[in-house]
């Protein structure tokens, strides 16, 4: 039982860290997409 609770706590900490990393990737993607959107549309076509 002790080991079970302990393992759950460790897994919980790892899930929280993984969530942070997932959101960091989404943030990077959102920021870089924003940069692309700044290019005027007429420039894109030419």
């Amino acid at each position: 039982m002790e080991l079970f609770i302990f393992v759950i706590v460790i897994i919980g900490a790892l899930i929280a860290i993984a969530s942070g990393i997932w959101v960091a990737f989404a943030l990077g993607s959102a920021i870089s997409n924003d940069g692309k959107k700044k290019i005027p549309s007429n420039t894109k076509e030419t």
């Binding site: 002790e2 706590v9 900490a13 899930i15 929280a16």
Partner: protein, 461 residues
């Protein structure tokens, strides 16, 4: 040297945050300021929701509760997780389906009538200002503690920086910076737990679980059942769909993302509470037994980390405060523009954007001024919860679920719910042992039923 390092870490953090906020761009129209053009992907909805609800209470507060009462507060916190999941499954998608809906007030306007929209708008703005004052107060406490600054200047720094990027960037800047702040605290605090377990408990499960059971038995013995019922009610209902959460439901790219964002945020909250409570339990073997509840996290980090750890903790705590504060400022400003100004004035897109920006600054000033009179973080939050749930939830949830809700029912429920909550909280605080939030919620439901019945009779006649 330690002060210099603390300052360097904070300056580096502010530069990084500014870079992220600038990359999020200034909002160019009200639709972007209020709803980020309804284009938020799942990861950002989830990250922003989690960053908004993890404030000082769900971090410093939960670590302190874990230290004193073990896993008792994990059980209570699960009510909050359940609430988020239920909102995700049943309410958020219905809210997202409404067309031209910018705020909860808009939802009231569409389901009931314009009067209900204005009343909901006033309650939303008031609540956002109240919550913002609590967050500003918490941010001030953290900065004053580290830099020995006067309280007012610490509050001014935290509120000033947050208001700056929220005023220009609107919801999109708020969500983008939330994601950045979420990454900071969702990584650093669990890493602190793993380090404490590995190096201070020597990875021994028995030490951890014996401390956990001792603290939990202690917590159960010292907390009356009626208090546990009140806390479960507050966690289950108090923060349900407050304006910043509703804005994220409305700003999701699709109804599916809206649903998924809330469900994932609910699941994450359970994991987060487990990590925070475990930090508190771990601290029992490391720091003195008589440490005050609000200082457990601070002292734990001081004990197990080098001097730089304290600076990192500062960054984490400032992130926790700012990510909640920016969401509240934006939600209050949008509610003011959409639900209070727009029903009376035909605003152009540019004018609405300017009103929203001005409102952000005014709410930030009110929050900074109000921070001085906030009694304590937890008391301030519980007060806001007690008013929000009875004032808004019955009318909102029933309005979204039934086909023809009656405007009279909406007005009566909001009015009676607000009056009952304020009366029980301020005028007769000792009137009953039953928690004020439950009594006021009951009053709001009865008022709704009466209003619905009168409305139905009038319609038939």
């Amino acid at each position: 040297m330690s002060m210099f390092f603390s300052l360097a870490v904070v300056v580096a953090y502010v530069i990084l945050l500014t870079f992220v906020a600038v990359r999020a761009r200034a909002a160019r129209e009200f639709e972007e300021f209020s709803l980020a053009k309804r284009a938020l992907p799942l990861a950002l909805v989830f990250g922003s929701l989690a960053a908004t609800y993890v404030g000082p209470g769900f971090s410093i507060g939960f670590v302190g509760r874990g230290f004193n009462s073990g896993f008792l507060f994990l059980g209570i916190g699960l009510a909050y997780s359940l609430q988020n999941i239920l909102v995700g499954l049943f309410i958020a998608p219905r809210l997202r389906e409404l067309k031209n809906c910018h705020t909860l007030g808009d939802a009231f306007g569409q389901k009931y009538d314009r009067k209900c929209q204005i009343v909901a708008g006033v309650i939303s703005v008031g609540l956002c200002a109240g919550f913002s004052a609590v967050m500003a107060s918490a941010g001030g406490v953290v900065l004053s503690d580290v830099f020995q600054l006067p309280s007012w200047s610490s509050v001014a720094i935290v509120v000033g920086i947050t208001a700056l990027y929220t005023t220009f960037g609107g919801l999109r800047a708020s969500v983008i910076t939330d994601a950045f702040q979420f990454t900071a605290f969702a990584s650093l605090l669990p890493v602190t737990l793993l380090l404490a377990i590995a190096f201070h408990l020597n990875g021994d499960p028995l030490t951890f679980t014996s401390q956990a059971s001792e603290a939990t038995i202690n917590g159960l013995g010292s907390t009356p059942i009626i208090e546990i019922v009140g806390l479960v009610a507050a966690f289950l209902l108090g923060e349900t769909l407050i304006p910043p959460y509703a804005n994220r439901a409305l700003a999701s790219k699709t109804t599916k993302i809206s649903r998924g964002g809330f469900v994932l945020a609910g699941i994450f909250s359970a994991v987060w509470f487990l990590v925070m409570i475990s930090l508190g339990i771990t601290a029992r073997s490391i720091i003195p037994e008589d440490t005050g509840e609000d200082f457990v996290l601070l002292n734990l980090v001081k004990s197990i980390m080098p001097a730089s750890g304290y600076s990192l903790l500062l960054v984490v705590l400032v992130s926790v405060v700012m990510s909640s504060l920016d969401s509240l400022l934006n939600a209050g400003a949008v509610a003011f523009t959409q639900d209070i100004v727009k029903p009376f004035a035909n605003l152009t897109n540019g004018a609405a954007l300017n009103v929203g920006r001005a409102a952000t600054i005014v709410i930030a000033i009110i929050a900074a001024a109000g921070a001085v009179i906030v009694p304590s973080i937890i008391d301030g939050l519980l007060l806001c919860y007690t008013i929000w749930a009875p004032a808004i939830l019955p009318a909102l949830i029933i309005g979204l679920l039934v086909k023809h809700p009656r405007p009279l029912a909406g007005i009566l429920s909001m009015g009676i719910g607000t009056i009952a909550a304020i009366t029980l909280e301020f005028v007769f605080p000792n009137l009953t042992e039953i928690p004020a939030i439950i009594v006021a919620l009951g009053a709001a439901l009865v008022a709704y039923a009466i209003g619905h019945w009168i409305g139905s009779v009038k319609t038939r006649v």
